[in-house]
């Protein structure tokens, strides 16, 4: 019987000839990633009584969650982190470089066949490049700093095959919201997910990253997409050295194989307060909003900004609506500036903010008051996530965000073209 991607990659990283679902293996990741939580991880690490990170070259730290610091305590954390990475010789990206999951990809730190563990739940993102990447906790990152090793349970695998051609203005975000709605927030719990099929093969890296990113929202451990010419082309000039892609065997033993034809997909919206509360846009169109957030590790890439502007079509942001635009990284910011996108957003009345996570986790840069409604391109709509527990968050694509910003109500982008 053939092997799934997860079984193959975990066997390789554990130095075993094979690994089977349910087995616990001890692995050494190729990369360990942490962000603003590095300050807290450092405090945990100190409890171990160690001075030195065992293999600093395996780690990266990226400041993105509350940047620039919104309060003194955040500033103290950042200061601690800068001191720590300098003292340990850990690769570091300071505030302004961008959201960790975009920076890791842009900097070529995630390669096909790699094992990446990150102290962030959306670490699943790098699966889009053919890596096995999963989120872990802070104590686990401290343990990795100390020993370079961690236990993982080998997951069983669900393969999701996507067919058809997406209609105009329908995006990867609509695809993944649709799938989460179908499977549920625990539909892939503890499982490895492999996204495959012609529809996925036809997607750009930017789109594939959205699928793998939000695999976390169906409970998946990781979300793999087989690396191909599109992947190799993207990685050219970004990745140093060789890498060894890993592919599932054609006769791999899947727990489940799901097939969807998405040729008739309409814009999808996740309603409060869970990501799997998904409806086609017709059911919520017309809902008044106070804020539109275009950005985050799910919806802040260059293609997302272009698409939102295309849908806005030169119209101004509607009266009474605050539109926040956060490019996912400095690279995205600079390109968006070169293309004149940032100017167009500003002229339309939007507020262009620095790259970072800010409003998505309700830390700063646009939190919601009780009773307010936000339409967001981000990946979570939990109660209280963006500020008041009495606020409502709707999740949708950048196209829906653009349409909603200019009409002031949740709006089908196809109705504006």
């Amino acid at each position: 019987m053939g092997k799934t991607f997860a079984e193959k990659v975990l066997a390789r990283k554990a130095g075993l000839s094979e690994a089977v679902p349910g087995q616990i293996v001890e692995v050494t990741p190729d990369l360990g990633m942490s962000h603003d939580n590095t300050a807290a991880i450092r405090r945990i690490f100190a409890k171990l009584g160690l001075d030195r990170v065992k293999e600093p070259e395996r780690f990266v730290v990226i400041l993105d969650h509350v940047v620039p610091a919104a309060q003194v305590q955040y500033a103290e954390n950042h200061k601690d982190i800068r001191e720590f990475v300098r003292e340990q010789g850990i690769r570091f990206y300071d505030v302004g470089r961008g959201i960790c999951h975009q920076v890791v990809v842009e900097e070529g730190l995630a390669r096909p066949g790699d094992l990446i563990l990150g102290a962030d739940s959306h670490t699943t993102t790098y699966g889009a490049l053919g890596a096995f990447s999963a989120g872990i906790g802070r104590s686990e990152m401290a343990a990795l700093w100390a020993t370079s090793k961690l236990w993982l349970k080998v997951p069983s695998t669900i393969r999701i095959e996507l067919y058809g051609r997406l209609p105009e203005l329908i995006t990867a975000k609509d695809v993944i919201l649709y799938l989460i709605g179908k499977l549920g927030a625990d539909g892939a719990l503890y499982r490895s997910v492999e996204f495959a099929g012609p529809l996925v093969e036809g997607m750009s890296i930017s789109e594939r990253l959205v699928l793998s990113n939000m695999a976390a929202e169906m409970g998946a451990k990781n979300g793999y997409i087989a690396p191909d010419e599109v992947t190799f082309e993207y990685l050219k000039g970004r990745v140093e050295g060789d890498y060894e892609p890993i592919y599932p065997d054609p006769d791999a033993n899947y727990e489940e194989v799901l097939r969807f034809d998405l040729s008739d997909l309409s814009p999808q919206v996740a309603c409060p307060h869970t990501v799997d509360n998904v409806v086609p846009i017709e059911e919520v169109a017309g809902k008044r909003v106070d804020q539109v957030l275009l950005g985050t590790c799910t919806g802040g890439r260059l293609a997302d900004l272009r698409l939102a502007l295309e849908v806005m079509g030169g119209r101004p942001v509607a009266e009474g609506v605050r539109m926040l635009v956060l490019p996912a990284s400095r690279e995205v910011y600079v390109k968006a500036a070169e293309e004149g996108l940032l100017k167009k957003f500003a002229e339309a009345g939007a507020l262009v903010l620095n790259p970072g996570c800010g409003p998505c986790l309700g830390a700063h840069q646009g939190v919601l008051a009780p009773g307010e409604v936000c339409l967001s391109t981000s990946n979570r709509n939990f109660k209280g996530r963006m500020g008041s527990p009495e606020a409502e968050i709707y999740l949708a694509s950048p196209a829906v965000a653009g349409a909603t910003a200019v009409t002031g109500e949740i709006c089908d982008p196809r109705s504006l073209s």
């Binding site: 939580n37 872990i136 100390a146 625990d186 503890y190 799997d276 109660k383 209280g384 500020g387």
Partner: protein, 164 residues
């Protein structure tokens, strides 16, 4: 032996309502974290929880953000264990790594009502509620060792000391 009253909640209790994001990058000691435990789900919980109390919930408990404080704040609040139909994977790991027993016993979840007395014997692998014993499969050895040492950091400290 873990013994306490049950606090019962539904499916998909996420880490944002267990420990809100507005506190997650603040410097906070566990005692302070305990005051915000379940703040956006049940504002009475932190005020009324007693040592040994057990959280009983539906499927996918702890979904969402990887924030470890979701487990740390419950331990600091005195929670003896969480019993659920299933757990989100990062929360499951964080709970073990903080020395918090997490048990999947779907039948017990259906039977237990808010405020009921619950007893759990980890060694025997049994939960007792109203005289009925619910058995649960033993945790993997790797996991049990971490739990017995009081979490990953004390466990690792012990291992490092042994290596000398």
């Amino acid at each position: 032996m873990i013994k306490g009253r049950a606090w019962k909640y539904g499916d998909d209790v996420n880490t944002d309502v267990i420990f809100p994001g507005r506190y997650t990058y603040a410097r906070m000691e566990p005692e302070e974290m305990a005051k915000h435990a379940l703040e956006d789900l049940d504002p009475n919980f932190a005020k009324e929880v007693r040592p040994g109390d057990v959280i009983v919930a539906g499927k996918n408990f702890g979904c969402g953000s990887s924030r470890e404080q979701a487990a740390t704040c419950l331990v600091a609040a005195g929670v003896g264990a969480v019993v659920a139909k299933s757990f989100a994977r990062i929360f499951f790991r964080n709970a073990i790594n903080n020395g918090l027993p997490v048990l999947e016993i779907p039948e017990a979840v259906d039977a237990i009502q808010p405020g009921d007395e619950v007893e759990i014997d980890l060694e025997r692998g049994v939960l007792i509620h109203k005289g009925v014993e619910y058995r649960f499969p033993p945790l993997p050895e790797t996991v049990l060792e971490i739990l017995q040492d009081g979490g990953l950091i004390p466990h690792l400290k012990k291992a490092l000391a042994k290596e000398g």
